[in-house]
Amino acid sequence: MPAYNEEHSIGGVVRNIKALGEGYHAIVINDNSNDQTSLIAQQEGAIVIDLPCNLGIGGAVQTGFRYALANEYDVCVQVDGDGQHPTEKVPYLSKTLNEEKYDLVIGSRFVIKTDYDISCMRRIGIQIISLFLWLSTGVSIKDPTSGFRATNRKAMGFFAKDYPQDYPEPQSLIFAHKYRFKVKEVSIEMKNRMHGTSSITSLKAGYYMIKVLLAMFIDLFKKP
């Protein structure tokens, strides 16, 4: 769970993960927040990794993969610290991953129409990114920007070594394609953000999209 200044929501998310029962551990990567994120997460019983510098979401998530790999976890599920992802679906994601032998399972907002509210600009942007992904790799993912995803040990291993830093969600799908992961997308109903604002506002969606496409394009040619 990457978290940057999420003191208002992190406690609830950690509680929800702990409520899933035995075998589920809440691991928070505190990306050098300047609020009480780390303290609250620890009080709620999460394993907290405090980063001394702000690395951004990519670096934080990668730290999680490294931890999961080193501590012999079978499945690593990435969940936002802001409470927008339905934690009760975590077992569903990991079950899909395990039973159907996928390397990466993405909890998506669009596979079946759900009542998640998302701005029009963002939706168009996501569709263009999705189209680019399909054209360049032949992989059809409806919501490549979703940060609600499960990985097995194979995927963790690759991502621990090499994970995109700038726009990790869509870029990592190009990586996944290059490493020949078996990827599956499942529909998940998303809540609206409980606190804070998304790192992508609808005004900046267009600019974001161009940067993402450029980064993904370059990734296609990157040496492994």
């Binding site: 990567i29 394993i47 907290v48 990794i49 405090d50 980063l51 001394p52 510098c53 690395l55 670096g59 990668q62 730290t63 490294r66 931890y67 080193a70 830093q165």
Partner: protein, 117 residues
């Protein structure tokens, strides 16, 4: 001509002293300083031997000031590219260190908690 020579010479001297001072104060690492020392040396040669400019013009075919400007611009762009790669390398190293530090700190904390005190 002489006045210009003196002027250019002073620039190169100032440049040289600045580079030297930055190395001495350990602000600048030697590996980058060498580049700047050579640059100041080049300017110095230019001031001591001004006929080098027409010679270069003859060799390269650039007869205009704008052409000289182009060379300088290319040099500067190359320098900036070089610095971008250096920054990228440092950022990667910083990321690696930050991640390892975070993971190690957690391990230390857990070990301390498990210690019977």
């Amino acid at each position: 001509m002489l006045r210009m020579q003196i002027f250019v010479g002073l620039i190169s001297l100032a440049f040289f002293v600045l580079t030297f001072e930055l190395i001495r104060k350990r602000v600048l690492r030697e590996e980058y300083a060498i580049l700047w020392l050579f640059t100041s040396l080049f300017i110095a040669v230019l001031s001591l031997w001004p006929r080098m400019v027409p010679l270069i013009s003859k060799i390269t075919g650039f007869y205009y000031v704008t052409a000289l400007l182009l060379i300088v611009t290319v040099f500067l762009i190359a320098m900036l590219m070089h610095f971008s790669t250096v920054i990228s390398r440092i950022k990667d190293a910083n990321k690696e260190l930050t991640q390892r530090y975070g993971l190690l700190e957690l391990r230390v904390r857990e070990m301390e908690q498990n210690m019977p005190s």
